[in-house]
Symmetry: C2
Subunit: 352 residues, 2 copies
DNA sequence: TTGTAGGCGTTATCAC
DNA sequence: GTGATAACGCCTACAA
């Protein structure tokens, strides 16, 4: 009790909560043994481990993550950067991530780049300064600076949402271009011939969906620029209404529309309801992502089902495996997508 | 150059990035002066500060947040616990929070309790072990354990989303009970007499909305239990369809429905469209939160506009003020709400 | 398997 | 206003 660290006049700056030394003293071992028992119980003998467990519980000891990070030059943190918090797509991804990290000793450090590559650069710099155990970023269009930061981060790096060439390290996603191409082809096969495109935000993934739209129609009679409407404005249901109204007024013979995402598709549906256009007979509507509401709409809306939750879940499992040195059989995963074909693309009146 | 720290044979464990000592050496001052210049420039003389700035830039010095947290017993982190990531309500709150923290040197540490008080307890314990600068939690229904943790966290605490008695510390929210009461009264005044309630999830805030529904109808002829349908299942648009269908089959004379949230309201609208019920003449529909899609629907849907973004934004500003010791004029803020009255509650056929 | 020595990078404390 | 000293709590490296 002479050097308990609590004696009068002793100066301590900390908040006075128990430290690893307190536990060690109570258990009759050295601090490093406690440290080992906590991190890798197998490296400590049975009986000592038991003593230590008791001491930990008795004192209510909780390791200090900051001290741990400082000493080991490694924080038990996975940095995640996404471009939007309100986009349902990323909400699902995040849910998967948080589910996957549950029960582990790691924390997710979340950054919102707001679709700004520069903001992403800044966040990356901040995150790297914390020496994270892994980094997860959205998309494959990082700036050269950001890419360099990722390459020198000294930890596993995972790019999500898209598949593409030249990964920084690992990758989990799918081809937005191919997905778009496929659903546009579905519209064609359903009998639609004047197929338009409505797009908002027009971030890189939206651009590639537009490209997929073009790729699909090119061999099928060509792309009519008059049928394409895009805006850099953030996507919304109201915007879907507006964009469809614009497009219809400029191209009255439009008979189907592929919407960049589900919000726009929902807005397009409401616009049709308002103006009395029969869906799918007068106008076919397809969206992208297959949010839950799509199947519940009237009529149910066709979309591309993207495995968002799964992307989030698998990405965290993957970096966790990488962190713990486990074998990663595939470092680049094309996770695919599925068409969710519903009544809204049932075909025009005069289906061939 | 003899003791530059880079000389051969010297053992350094860190990743070799510049430290505050490197900056100090280059600027010809002591480390503590650099520390002060970085945190509170006014405490260091003009010329030294200039030298230090140059040195910082020359070396590309970035402070180590872990070392800082360890030494000061305080991490520049604001812990935030929300019950859901996919609920649009919290997405908006988070967006406000991330916007408000932008530019500060603080980080948000996000936890997802999945509507589980026990999970919230666990997260709180984990967060507190990091010595956060502030904590923000959702709702006012923490377990006694969680509440004790908050009270002993040694940092500002803010409860958001609801207003209520007995705050732990600070509070930003509004009365869900009163908001619900008001919109149900609106339905009554619009001429509806058989007003039902549809609820999902039924977390504490949903419960209070149900209470508001009852409080409104009690003095207006009483509550008919047959008009209330709730489920603990997570809310969704599809569920809104299902619940309305159930309710209509059990109470065919239903003439309006207050939905616990907007997803359910949207589902109720789709169900009416499917079964050919005129909205608002055969059935009035009101939701809660006023998500963007509500105004774009056909017909536009009535809801309660809740200031979600503002709650997020103001809550972070508030804890930031508290952290920096600024005066907080109001520690408990009722941020209010507004009715967004639209066509979907335009009144029944035989309006009085 | 366990322990010793010292460092991780920064800041609180107190002296000048 | 500036600096010396020690401490924050834990972990790596090496020794026994």
């Amino acid at each position: 009790m002479s050097d308990s660290g609590q004696s009068v006049g002793r100066k301590r700056r900390g908040a006075g909560r128990p430290t690893i030394s307190d536990v060690a003293r109570l258990a009759g071992v050295s601090p490093i043994t406690v440290s080992r028992a906590l991190r890798d119980p197998q490296r400590v003998s049975q009986d000592l481990r038991a003593n230590i467990d008791v001491a930990v519980r008795t004192l209510g000891y909780v390791p200090d993550p900051n001290a741990r990070a400082l000493a080991s030059s490694r924080a038990d943190v996975i940095g995640v950067i996404i471009p939007s918090l309100t986009n349902n797509v990323f909400a699902d991804v995040l849910r998967g991530m948080y589910d996957a990290i549950n029960g582990s000793s790691y924390q997710i450090q979340l950054g919102n780049s707001r679709y700004s590559p520069i903001e992403e650069e800044r966040l990356l710099t901040t995150f790297v300064s914390q020496r994270p155990s892994a980094l997860i970023v959205s998309g494959i269009d990082q700036t050269p600076t950001a890419r360099a930061t990722l390459e020198n981060a000294g930890c596993p790096v995972l790019q999500i949402m898209e598949s593409g060439p030249d990964p920084v390290d690992m990758m989990v996603g799918f081809s937005h271009r191919k997905a778009a191409e496929e659903i546009v082809r579905h519209l064609w096969h359903a009998g639609y011939r004047r197929i338009g495109f409505i797009g908002a935000r027009m971030d890189p993934r939206s651009q590639r969906r537009l490209q997929g739209y073009r790729d699909a129609l090119e061999p099928l009679g060509g792309v009519d620029p008059a049928l394409v409407t895009t805006t850099p404005a953030p996507s919304s249901v109201s915007l879907g209404r507006d964009l469809l109204r614009d497009l219809m007024s400029r191209a009255p013979d439009l008979d189907a529309v592929f919407c960049n995402n589900d919000d726009l598709a929902m807005g397009a549906l409401f616009e049709c309801q308002r103006s009395g256009l029969d869906v799918p007979r007068r106008l076919g509507i397809a969206g992208f992502n297959d949010l839950e509401m799509m199947a519940a709409a009237h009529p149910p809306l066709t979309s591309v089902r993207t495995p968002r939750y799964e992307i989030g879940y698998r990405s965290v499992r993957m970096v966790l495996d990488a962190i713990t040195g486990r074998d990663i059989p595939e470092r680049v995963i094309d996770i695919g997508y599925e068409l969710a074909v519903r009544d809204s693309t049932g075909g025009p009146v005069l289906s061939q």
